[in-house]
C-alpha cells in the first residue's frame, strides 16, 4: 500500500513520459494513508526545487549585499558585539532585526544548511525516481513502433522504394549506420522495423550531474569533519610554531620576502619555510601565493604578512623573561596602528606593542620607536605605558623593556581538507555529465519498411522531439541520406509535416 505511489512514479515509461510523470497519483483508495508515497512525491516535486533555488538566490543576494561577520568574529561573542556596534553605524535601526534573522552570518546558519540539505534530498530522490526510465531508454528501447507513431511523430516522412522490402531495409540500415547511428532491426513476414540511435549514454548525463552535486556536498561534509583550517597562522622570522590541530607538525619561517612592481602594486610574496614533524626536519621549501606547500595532507598557503618587533624583557632581578619577535598583526581601532601583544604569566602582565602608523608621520609614535603598554593580566587595568626607542631599554612599571629591532612575520593559511579530492572528482563528473547531455544529445530515429503488393516497399521514418530541441536539420539530413540510399533524389519523395524551420 505504501509503495503504490512509488511504483506509480517509477513505472512512468521513459519513452513518452509526460512532463508531469512525477505528479502521478496512486490509484489506491487509501491514498490518505500513503505517507511514504506522499513524502516521496513531495521530494520529487520540481516546484519545490525551484522554490528552494529561489530562496537560496535571495539568501545569497542578501549575503552579498549585507556585510557578513567573519567566522573568527562569530566564534567570539565579545568581538561579535563589537562588530555589531560598527554595523549599527551602517544599518542603524535595522541592525537588531537583521541580527535576529541571522542575516549577518547567512552562510553558516542552520536554516541555510537546512535548505541545502533539502535540495540535496530533493536531488537524490529525483535521480532515483528517474533511474529506471533512463535505463529503459538507454538499454531497452522499443524497436517496433506502431503505424500511429509514424503518423504522429513530430518529424516524419514516407518514402517509396522501388525494391524489395529486405533490400530497402538493408539500405536504410546502412545509411543510418553511416550517419553514426547504432541500428537495431526486427523482422516479421511483411515488414522490417528499425530503431537507430546515437549518443545514447548521454542520457546518463542527467544522472551524473545530479550525482556530482550530492558528491560535492558530501565532500564538504568530509572536509568539515576530518579537516581543519587555520586562516591566521602567524610565524615571525626565525621563529618556530606548532601547527597543533592534532598534528605533530611545527613550522619555522626562515625568511620572508615581498617585492613590488615599479608602479606600486605587489608583485610577489614568498616565505621560506621548514616543516618539522616531532622535532625532526621533514621538508623545506618556498611558498608563494599561487604555489603552496603540502606535507602529509596539510597544506601551507601564503595568505598575508606584516611587521614584527623583536622585544626583550627582563624583570626586577635582571632575569630575561621574554625574548621573541612580536607580530604586530592587528590594528588599533584609533589611528590604525599595527599592534601585537604577549603574556607574561609569571608576572601577571599582558604587554601590548604598538607601532607607528605606516606611511605617515605618526605624531604619537615617531619612526624607530614602539609604544609599549603594560596591563594587569587578571583585571586588564593599565600599569604603565611608554615609548621605547630601538636599542634603548626602558623601565616600564616593574619591567625592563628593550625594543631590539624590527623584522617580518608571514601569515599562513594552514589547511587540511581530505574532502577536496572528492570535490574535484565530482566537479569532473559534473562537467562530463553536462557536456554529454548538451553537446552530445541523444538522438533517436525509427523506421518501418513495409512490403507493398507490387513487390516494392514503403519506408516510413519517424523521429520524436528530443526534449524540445528542434531536430529539423538532423531529420532532414537523415531523410536525404536514406532517400539517396533508396535511389531517391534529395528533392524527390514525399515528405510530411513536422518541425520548425529555424
Amino acid at each position: 500500500m505504501e509503495t503504490q505511489g512509488v511504483r506509480a512514479v517509477d513505472g512512468a515509461e521513459a519513452l513518452a513520459a509526460p512532463p508531469s510523470a512525477s505528479r502521478a497519483r496512486p490509484s489506491g483508495h487509501l491514498w490518505e494513508l500513503d505517507v511514504l508515497g506522499r513524502v516521496w512525491r513531495f521530494f520529487t516535486s520540481v516546484r519545490m526545487a525551484l522554490v528552494l533555488i529561489l530562496i537560496l538566490t535571495a539568501a545569497v543576494l542578501a549575503g552579498t549585499l549585507l556585510d557578513q561577520a567573519p567566522p573568527s568574529v562569530i566564534a567570539d561573542p565579545a568581538s561579535y558585539e563589537q562588530w555589531l556596534e560598527r554595523a549599527r553605524a551602517r544599518y542603524g535601526f535595522w541592525t537588531d532585526i537583521l541580527n535576529f534573522l541571522q542575516l549577518f552570518n547567512i552562510f553558516h546558519t542552520l536554516w541555510f544548511k537546512l535548505i541545502i540539505g533539502l535540495l540535496t534530498t530533493n536531488i537524490i530522490i529525483c535521480s532515483i525516481n528517474r533511474w529506471k526510465g533512463i535505463k529503459t531508454t538507454v538499454f531497452g528501447a522499443r524497436v517496433r513502433m506502431s503505424e500511429t507513431f509514424f503518423q504522429h511523430a513530430r518529424y516524419n516522412a514516407s518514402l517509396a522504394a522501388a525494391m524489395p522490402m529486405t533490400t530497402a531495409a538493408e539500405r536504410v540500415r546502412r545509411a543510418l549506420a553511416l550517419s553514426h547511428y547504432r541500428v537495431r532491426t526486427e523482422t516479421d513476414g511483411s515488414s522490417v522495423a528499425i530503431y537507430a540511435d546515437r549518443n545514447r549514454f548521454s542520457r546518463f548525463g542527467t544522472f551524473l550531474s545530479h550525482l556530482s552535486i550530492v558528491l560535492i556536498l558530501a565532500g564538504t561534509v568530509v572536509g568539515g569533519v576530518l579537516g581543519f583550517k587555520d586562516p591566521e597562522f602567524i610565524v615571525a622570522e626565525g621563529a618556530t610554531r606548532e601547527v597543533g590541530m592534532g598534528t605533530d607538525l611545527s613550522v619555522k619561517l626562515e625568511h620572508f620576502t615581498d617585492e613590488y612592481w615599479l608602479e606600486g602594486p605587489p608583485k610577489d610574496f614568498r616565505s621560506e619555510l621548514v616543516i618539522y614533524e616531532n622535532g625532526q626536519e621533514v621538508k623545506r621549501g618556498m611558498i608563494r601565493v599561487n604555489s603552496p606547500m603540502s606535507y602529509k595532507g596539510v597544506r601551507f598557503h601564503q595568505a598575508f604578512f606584516g611587521q614584527t618587533a623583536v622585544m626583550n624583557v627582563t624583570d626586577t632581578s635582571d632575569a630575561l623573561i621574554f625574548d621573541e619577535a612580536v607580530p604586530l598583526a592587528w590594528q588599533t581601532r584609533e589611528g590604525s596602528r599595527p599592534v601585537g601583544s604577549f603574556d607574561l604569566s609569571g608576572q601577571n602582565r599582558t604587554v601590548y606593542v604598538i607601532g607607528p602608523t605606516s606611511g605617515e608621520n605618526d605624531p604619537l609614535i615617531p619612526a624607530g620607536e614602539m609604544r609599549v603598554e603594560v596591563y594587569r593580566r587578571d583585571t586588564g587595568s593599565l600599569v604603565a605605558a611608554e615609548n621605547v626607542s630601538q636599542g634603548t631599554p626602558k623601565a616600564i612599571g616593574d619591567l625592563n623593556v628593550d625594543f631590539v629591532r624590527e623584522s617580518r612575520f608571514t601569515g599562513l593559511q594552514v589547511v587540511k581538507d581530505p574532502g577536496v579530492n572528492i570535490i574535484w572528482v565530482a566537479s569532473a563528473l559534473m562537467v562530463l555529465g553536462l557536456a554529454m547531455l548538451f553537446y552530445f544529445p541523444h538522438r533517436r530515429m525509427w523506421a518501418l519498411c513495409k512490403a507493398l503488393p507490387d513487390g516494392k516497399a514503403e519506408v516510413r521514418l519517424g523521429m520524436t522531439a528530443q526534449r524540445d530541441v528542434s531536430l529539423t536539420d538532423e531529420f532532414k539530413r537523415l531523410r536525404e541520406r536514406v532517400g539517396l540510399a533508396l535511389g531517391i533524389r534529395p528533392d524527390g519523395g514525399r515528405t510530411a509535416g513536422g518541425g520548425d524551420d529555424v
Partner: protein, 288 residues
C-alpha cells in the same frame, strides 16, 4: 603593441556601429517588404525591395564578422603587450565579454541563418565596448594572486563563452516577449525565438559550471579555500542555479514562452550582477 590594440579597438567600434545600422535597415526592410507584399500581392517592386533588404543584411554580417576580427586582434595585441590574458582589470574583461557575445552571436547566425538576434546582441556588445572606454585602460601588472596564467586564462575564456551564450539567450527572450502573440511580422515566429533561447542556454550552462569549478580550483590553489562565499563566486553560482531552474522548469514542468523568457531575463540580470559585481561589493575579486 598596446597602440595597435587601441587602433584595432577603434576599428571594432566603427565596424560594429555600422553593422548595427545595417541590421536595422535589414529588419525594417523586411518589415516594409512584408507590408508591401501584403498590399500588393507580390510584384516586381517587392522583389527589388527584397534584394535591398537582404543586401543590407549581408553587408551587416560582413561588418559584424570584421568587428569580431578587429576585436580579436585588439585582444591578441593586448595580450602580447601585457604578457597575460585579458583578466587583469575591468577594461580587459569588458572587451572579452563583448568578444564572447559577438562570437556566440556569429556562430548562431551562421548556424541558424537568423539575423534578428543581432539587433539586440550587437548593441549590447557595443555597449560593453563603450563602457570599456570609461574605465582605466592602462596595462596593470598582476598582483600575486592573479599570477596563475594557465588556470586563469582558461577560467576567463570559458566565462566569456558562457556570458556570450547568456547574452544571446537574453536577446532571444526579449524578442520573444515582443513577439509572443506572433503579431510582429518582421520577427521570426515566437516558437523559434523560444527555442533559440533554450539552445543558447544549452551552450552556456555547462560552460558556466566549468567557470565556477575553475574559479574554485584557483581559489584552492591560491588561498587554500575552494569556497569562501566570496560575493563574486557566490553570484556566479547563483547565476548558474537560475539557468538550472530554467532548464528544469522547461524539461520537467513544460514551461515555455513567457515564463521561460522571464527566467532568461532574470538569468541575464544575474550574469550582469556577477560581472559588474566588483563595483558593488568587495571581496577577494575586488582587484577589478
Amino acid at each position: 603593441m598596446s597602440e595597435l590594440s587601441e587602433y584595432a579597438f577603434v576599428a571594432t567600434v566603427a565596424a560594429l556601429s555600422t553593422a548595427i545600422l545595417l541590421y536595422l535597415v535589414n529588419a525594417l526592410g523586411a518589415r516594409s517588404l512584408r507590408a508591401f507584399s501584403l498590399a500588393d500581392g507580390g510584384s516586381l517592386a517587392t522583389r527589388s525591395a527584397n534584394g535591398a533588404y537582404t543586401t543590407a543584411g549581408r553587408y551587416g554580417t560582413i561588418l559584424a564578422v570584421n568587428a569580431f576580427a578587429f576585436l580579436t586582434a585588439s585582444l591578441v595585441f593586448r595580450t602580447i603587450a601585457s604578457g597575460h590574458g585579458p583578466f587583469a582589470n575591468m577594461y580587459e574583461f569588458s572587451l572579452a565579454f563583448a568578444w564572447g557575445a559577438l562570437a556566440l552571436y556569429l556562430y548562431f547566425e551562421l548556424r541558424y541563418r537568423l539575423r534578428i538576434l543581432g539587433l539586440l546582441v550587437l548593441p549590447i556588445a557595443l555597449g560593453l565596448l563603450v563602457y570599456a572606454t570609461t574605465v582605466p585602460s592602462d596595462i596593470t601588472p598582476l598582483v600575486p594572486a592573479l599570477q596563475n596564467d594557465l588556470l586563469l586564462t582558461v577560467h576567463v575564456a570559458v566565462a566569456i563563452i558562457a556570458y556570450g551564450a547568456f547574452t544571446l539567450a537574453f536577446g532571444a527572450a526579449v524578442l520573444y516577449l515582443i513577439q509572443r502573440r506572433d503579431s510582429v511580422r518582421w520577427l521570426p515566429r515566437s516558437t523559434v525565438l523560444d527555442e533559440m533561447g533554450y539552445k543558447a542556454v544549452m551552450v552556456g550552462f555547462p560552460m558556466m559550471a566549468l567557470v565556477v569549478i575553475l574559479g574554485a580550483l584557483w581559489a584552492d590553489i591560491a588561498w587554500g579555500t575552494y569556497w569562501s562565499w566570496d560575493p563574486k563566486e557566490t553570484a556566479s553560482l547563483v547565476t548558474w542555479l537560475i539557468y538550472g531552474g530554467y532548464l528544469h522548469a522547461r524539461v520537467l514542468r513544460g514551461w515555455r514562452g513567457q515564463r521561460s523568457a522571464m527566467l532568461l531575463i532574470l538569468g541575464f540580470a544575474a550574469t550582469l550582477f556577477t560581472y559588474f559585481g566588483n563595483l558593488f561589493f568587495g571581496g577577494l575579486h575586488s582587484y577589478g
